[in-house]
Every structure is written in structure tokens, then in C-alpha cells.
């Protein structure tokens, strides 16, 4: 039986900046343990010498000149931000 403890939930949630309540920890601990159990069948496959597939279609890099161009006005791009000042996004204290 796979375990994924409440401490594990907190440990991995911290990396992706998701706050978790005590109740959340219990819920995710059980659900993610189930998931880890179910994906363990991948260990049964012999993948010796097999290349990983990162893209479903063989593609080559698409390159272009790095030329600046006008896209949108600063005001339009800032319109969705919760808080702004002097043309910049304002964030809470960082220290």
C-alpha cells in the first residue's frame, strides 16, 4: 500500500505555492496515495533502450529574427492587474 503523508502534501504543495489547510492535507494525502499506487504499473514495462517521447509529432525548431514590435499598449496589458502604480504591477511587501 502506497503512502503519501500529510507532510508530503505540504512538502510538494510548498514548491508550487499552494496553501493547504489541515483538511486539505488529509484529502490530498489519500487521493494522491491512490494515484501513486495506480501509476506504479508503469514499472512493469521494459523500457530498456526506449527513447522518451516529448512531442507527439516530429518537429524541428522554428526560428525567427528577434525583432521588437508593438503588441499592446501598456495600459491595456495592465488593465487586468489587481493593483498598479506608475505603469507597473504593484505587489505586497517582499521583505
Amino acid at each position: 500500500m502506497t503512502t503519501f503523508s500529510t507532510d508530503d502534501v505540504k512538502y510538494f504543495a510548498d514548491f508550487v505555492r499552494i496553501g493547504v489547510s489541515e483538511e486539505d492535507k488529509e484529502i490530498f494525502s489519500a487521493k494522491i496515495a491512490d494515484l501513486i499506487e495506480s501509476v506504479s504499473n508503469l514499472k512493469d514495462v521494459d523500457v530498456t533502450g526506449v527513447e522518451p517521447m516529448t512531442h507527439p509529432i516530429a518537429m524541428i525548431n522554428v526560428l525567427r529574427e528577434d525583432q521588437p514590435k508593438d503588441i499592446l499598449d501598456r495600459e491595456i496589458m495592465l488593465a487586468s492587474a489587481e493593483d498598479q502604480e506608475d505603469g507597473s504591477i504593484k505587489v505586497p511587501d517582499i521583505l
Partner: protein
């Protein structure tokens, strides 16, 4: 017969002959949505003012400037960004988000003369198969409102099936266009990876995502894909291959077509009556000249877990952009920047989304990266090779779209075996980047069944040809849910 029960092709003929105006079609569409959507909740946002203004503008346009979807109403899944129109991804995180640009598909629809009548409900960030994880309440199945419409593009499928719109766009990362199309008795196409630009589609799993098309007939679907497909400078994964006119492929001639039927597709976990309906459909194809044979796919049983590891890993990266600072939900309870991130994401995301992000982070972590993420990518290679071998001998692979008919609300599809069977049917098209289409092929207990046709990369034409030939030989697409008659 009301205007809204007509197909896009029929509406075009009426407009061409001067028997209807865009304004009339738009107004009636909006009326039907107002009445019907109280019963099924397919729309998150109805764009009444924008649609009416657009209709007036189109009616005044010169006849020779009419595009291929001139005057046709369409609904858009709410994870495709629309300029100056909310795009929520059915999440509290984006409840009030108003994009400042259009997705490429929206610009193409606009150039073709389509009328966007609103944004459609879905599972939050497209993570789910029932539309029950939506922050805005679940959508109901038009055939029986005790049942789910499927998901994640549940709103897109329900709106079309209920006669609210003839066409809609969805997105398909692991069956999210095809499964709801099957549950709602309509046609749903997931094109080849790269066939349609993903610029402006909110990313879930970037190596699997693809925008797809939903409609009541194969011809309408072929028309819609012809309009939205093609290369895009803003999406370097979009294909430069020329886009054919898919409606030209609907010849009805499938003599000699080689059909592979994987044994796993009609095996354990698949409902017996669903399997019977698909076997009947195969007999119809044989009567039209197709040759059907059983095949084995040695690694198919690993497709669901391969998909789960890869999609969650890619999702945890893609969803890191939602920080509550530049746009979207913003917590009111933060004393510093760190708290702002943690609380915004705790309060803004729903449970399913958080579960997948945390699991994806586990799968991508230093201790598990090789064993889970990279291993899943290697198994993905083996699954793709299995399909490549089959497609060396066959033109299409056919099976059910889903293992069962629609689930009852709150029941998420029964036991693990059924879940597994559903994923075995749904996710290979995404893992391998292949096109796949669902077409109605029967009913079990008055709920629709879909047949899935998967094809060679960039061979959407053959899928449309086969689906159209089958559709013309059967009557399933002519049945409509009673909700369309106002019941």
C-alpha cells in the same frame, strides 16, 4: 422547424437565398439559449450585446465579402480567450478575467463571418470528464437532465445537442471533445496535434492539448475545421501542411477501407450494450465496402497511467502562471508576497486542479522524475509504436468513444474498471497526436452512444469520409432530445 434546429450548412443556404437575415438567426438563437439554458446550464456567459451588434454589422456587409461561416452562431469553450469577453476556464481563479487579445481560432472565426454567442461551461481548467468540477455549477445532459453531459467540454456538447447553437469549439487533452460528443449524441473531432493553432487556448498539458470541433452533422464539422485549421506564427507547434477543404472529402465512397478494431476496445470494462452498438456500426461499414479486422495493441493497458503522469506533470508547470498579481483572482488576506501567492492559489483553484498540480509536482521532483515522468514518456513511445504498426496496414482504428453511456450526476462513471476502460479509449489519440472523431452510433436506455474513428496523422479527410458515409447510412443523427421541442 425553428432556425436554431438547422445545421450551419442549412443556415447558410437560407442566408444565401435571402430567406433569413443574420439578425433573425441571432435573435432566435439568443431566445432559445435563454429558454433552454435554464434547464442545462451549458453557457457561463451569453454574449447578447456583442452578438446582436455583430449580426447587424454582418447584415450590412457586401455579399461578396461573406465568409464560409457567414451568419452562423457558434459557442466557445471558456478556456479559449476572447477579446474583451470573460474567459474563466470555469474557475474562481479567472472569474472576472477579461482577455486583451483573441485566440487565433477566434480571429479565424471572425474572418469567416461566424457570430460568437457566448462562452461554454467545462470542467475547471479542463480537468475532468463530467463538467462537475466547474466553479459555475455543472451542465446537464440534454437527453436526460439526471445525467452528466461528459467533459471536459460538457457545455460545448450540451449546447449543440440541445439546439442552442449548431457549432461549438472545445478542447481535447484526453478525450475532452470526443467523450462529451458521444454522451450528447453529436459529432466531435479532435484534430491531429498541430492541425489547429493553440494560441489563446489556456494550456493544460502542452504535448496533448488540441482545440476540437463539435456539431450535429459530419458536414458541419468538416466545414468548421476547414475554417479554423492552419499554420500560425504565434504557435510554433502548428503545422505548415496545407489545409484541405474537408467538406470535399464527403464522397460516401469507403469501398476497400481497412478498419482495425483493437480487441481491448471492446473488452473488459466496456458496457455490453455499448459494445453491441459499435459492432452493429462496424457491420454497417462492412456493408458499405469496408474490411474490419481485430488487432492487438500490446501496451494499450498502460495508456491511462502514462497519460495521467504526463498530463499532471505538464499541468503543474502550465498552471504556475496563475499568481493573482498580473490578472485573475487575488486574495485579500496577504501581508506579504509569499502569502499572496499561497493564499491566492489555495482560494482560487478547486480541489481537482490542486490535486493534479501537487501530484504533477511529485512526478517531476528529483526523486521521482526518472521513475515516473521520463518512464511515462518512454512508455508513450511504445504506445505510439504500437499504433504506427497498426496504421501501416490499416486506414482507421475504430472502437467505442466511451465505455458507457453518460454517467448519472455525482456518480463519475462507476468502478475503477470502467474508468480505466474509458481512458484506454480516450487518451491514445492525445498520446500519439493522432486525429480522432466521435459520431453517433446508437442509443442505450435513451442515452446516446458514440463510435470513435482514429486516423493517420493529418488525415482528417478519411475520418470525415468514413463518419459521413456511416451517418448517411443511419438515422441516429436525426434524433433530437425532447428538450429541443421545449419540454
Amino acid at each position: 422547424m425553428t432556425l436554431t434546429s438547422k445545421t450551419a450548412v442549412e443556415l447558410q443556404a437560407l442566408l444565401q437565398n435571402g430567406e433569413a437575415t443574420v439578425k433573425e438567426i441571432t435573435e432566435e438563437t439568443l431566445q432559445v439559449i435563454e429558454q433552454t439554458d435554464k434547464k442545462i446550464n451549458a453557457f457561463i456567459h451569453v454574449a447578447t450585446d456583442e452578438a446582436n451588434a455583430r449580426a447587424e454589422q454582418l447584415d450590412q456587409a457586401a455579399a461578396d465579402t461573406r465568409g464560409r461561416l457567414f451568419g452562423v452562431p457558434i459557442g466557445i469553450k471558456d478556456n479559449i480567450v476572447t477579446l474583451n469577453m470573460t474567459t474563466t476556464c470555469a474557475s474562481k481563479m479567472l472569474e472576472n478575467f477579461v482577455p486583451v487579445y483573441n485566440a487565433t481560432v477566434m480571429n479565424k472565426l471572425e474572418a469567416a463571418g461566424a457570430v460568437n454567442v457566448g462562452k461554454l461551461n467545462m470542467d475547471e481548467f479542463a480537468m475532468g470528464s463530467t463538467t462537475e468540477t466547474s466553479y459555475f455549477g455543472n451542465t446537464l445532459n440534454p437527453w436526460n437532465t439526471d445525467y452528466v453531459p461528459g467533459g471536459s467540454s460538457g457545455g460545448s456538447a450540451a449546447a449543440v445537442a440541445a439546439g442552442e447553437v449548431p457549432l461549438s469549439l472545445g478542447s481535447d487533452t484526453g478525450g475532452s471533445v470526443r467523450q462529451p460528443a458521444a454522451f450528447c449524441g453529436i459529432v466531435g473531432m479532435k484534430p491531429t496535434y498541430g492541425r489547429v493553432s493553440r494560441f489563446g487556448l489556456t494550456a493544460f498539458a502542452s504535448s496533448l492539448d488540441q482545440i476540437g470541433t463539435l456539431s450535429r452533422t459530419v458536414e458541419d464539422n468538416a466545414l468548421l475545421l476547414s475554417v479554423i485549421a492552419g499554420e500560425d506564427d504565434n504557435d510554433s507547434s502548428s503545422s505548415a501542411k496545407p489545409v484541405p477543404d474537408y467538406t470535399q472529402a464527403l464522397t460516401g465512397d469507403i469501398k476497400g477501407l481497412k478498419v482495425a478494431v483493437p480487441t481491448a476496445y471492446l473488452g473488459e470494462g466496456v458496457d455490453e450494450e455499448v459494445a453491441t452498438a459499435v459492432k452493429e456500426a462496424l457491420r454497417v461499414l462492412e456493408s458499405l465496402g469496408a474490411v474490419c479486422e481485430e488487432v492487438e495493441l500490446p501496451h494499450i493497458q498502460y495508456a491511462p497511467t502514462t497519460y495521467y503522469v504526463i498530463s499532471s506533470s505538464e499541468a503543474q508547470s502550465n498552471l504556475s502562471r496563475f499568481d493573482g498579481l498580473r490578472y485573475g483572482y487575488h486574495t485579500e488576506n496577504a501581508e506579504n508576497l509569499e502569502q499572496a501567492y499561497f493564499r491566492t492559489r489555495q482560494e482560487g483553484f478547486g480541489e481537482e486542479v490542486k490535486k493534479r498540480i501537487i501530484f504533477g509536482t511529485y512526478a517531476m521532483s528529483a526523486d521521482h522524475h526518472e521513475d515516473l515522468y521520463v518512464r511515462a514518456q518512454k512508455v508513450r513511445t511504445l504506445i505510439a509504436q504500437d499504433f504506427n504498426e497498426v496504421f501501416e496496414k490499416y486506414d482507421v482504428v475504430i472502437g467505442p468513444t466511451a465505455a458507457t453511456t453518460a454517467f448519472k450526476l455525482g456518480e463519475t462513471g462507476g468502478d475503477q474498471l470502467v474508468h480505466y476502460a474509458n481512458d484506454v479509449l480516450a487518451v491514445p489519440a492525445n498520446l500519439t497526436g493522432r486525429p480522432a472523431l466521435s459520431v453517433p452510433c446508437g442509443f442505450v436506455n435513451e442515452l446516446p452512444v458514440g463510435m470513435q474513428i482514429m486516423g493517420k496523422h493529418f488525415d482528417e479527410e478519411t475520418l470525415y469520409k468514413v463518419a459521413h458515409a456511416y451517418e448517411q447510412a443511419t438515422d441516429f443523427h436525426k434524433r433530437t432530445p425532447s428538450i429541443q421541442e421545449g419540454n
